[in-house]
Symmetry: C2
Subunit: 149 residues, 2 copies
């Protein structure tokens, strides 16, 4: 699949078309990437965040399974291809500027989204108002799991 | 505030320290930015997405109000400074790699997060499996509001 042609994606239009139109015309950044927010459709929690290139976005639309672009490995990556924790999309949305996508997913396999083995990548909170020289001390949070551990 | 020193932020450490440590050592990209996901703490919906630079992140931690870096206006921006729709942080988290932040917020003012006047920026869904040459046709979604319209 060439970078220019990817089924299901339209070229960018005017601001009015982007904000209020019905054509999906996603914006990719200077590196050819668009951010993707992933939430668990049962718990509602944000479970991971990654980037898609044009090919990953097109593959996601075609298969209903989340694909990303790995910047560290420089390759297309179907989430769960090794772990079995595939992300089956329940609903996908874009924002006003069409430069972000949000995936509401059903996590297959063990219901684990994070490469560390945690159910969600967001397992630490950042306390506010700790502006001392010692830095901010993160606090562990309990993740609401959609599936039993 | 210099770019190097920002209260509450520690320099990057080893992978073990980043993934399992308690020090907040956020990663900024080549442009000095970190992505920020914003969800409404009552509805649980993703309502907006923006970027912070080091200064915006430090100001957010110090005030408990969401600050971002506007790439289009090239300036620090406190969300709601014009609209009144300030984002008061209920909880803030970071991910395994500490290269994203997630803000659970209480939207002040009219409870509107999007510059278009929509309660959320994510007011259109992206249907799957529409891989024809005609592109993908977005569908409007009803946003669950945390406050009456």
């Amino acid at each position: 699949m060439s970078d220019k042609a990817a089924a299901g994606l339209s070229p960018r239009g005017s601001i009015a078309e982007i904000e209020h139109g019905a054509a999906f015309m996603p914006k990719f950044d200077a590196d050819g990437l668009i951010p993707a927010i992933v939430t668990d459709h049962t718990s509602g929690e944000v479970v991971m965040f990654a980037f898609m290139n044009r090919q990953a976005l097109a593959a996601t639309l075609q298969t209903g399974l989340a694909h990303f672009w790995s910047r560290s490995r420089n390759k297309l990556w179907r989430k769960g291809e090794e772990s079995g924790n595939t992300l089956k999309i329940v609903e996908m949305r874009t924002d006003c500027d069409q430069d972000v996508v949000w995936l509401r997913v059903d996590i297959q396999g063990d219901g684990v989204a994070c490469h560390t083995g945690a159910a969600s990548c967001f397992y630490r909170s950042i306390p506010l108002h700790q502006s001392g020289d010692g830095g901010t001390i993160l606090e562990p949070v309990e993740i609401r799991r959609s599936k039993p551990a």
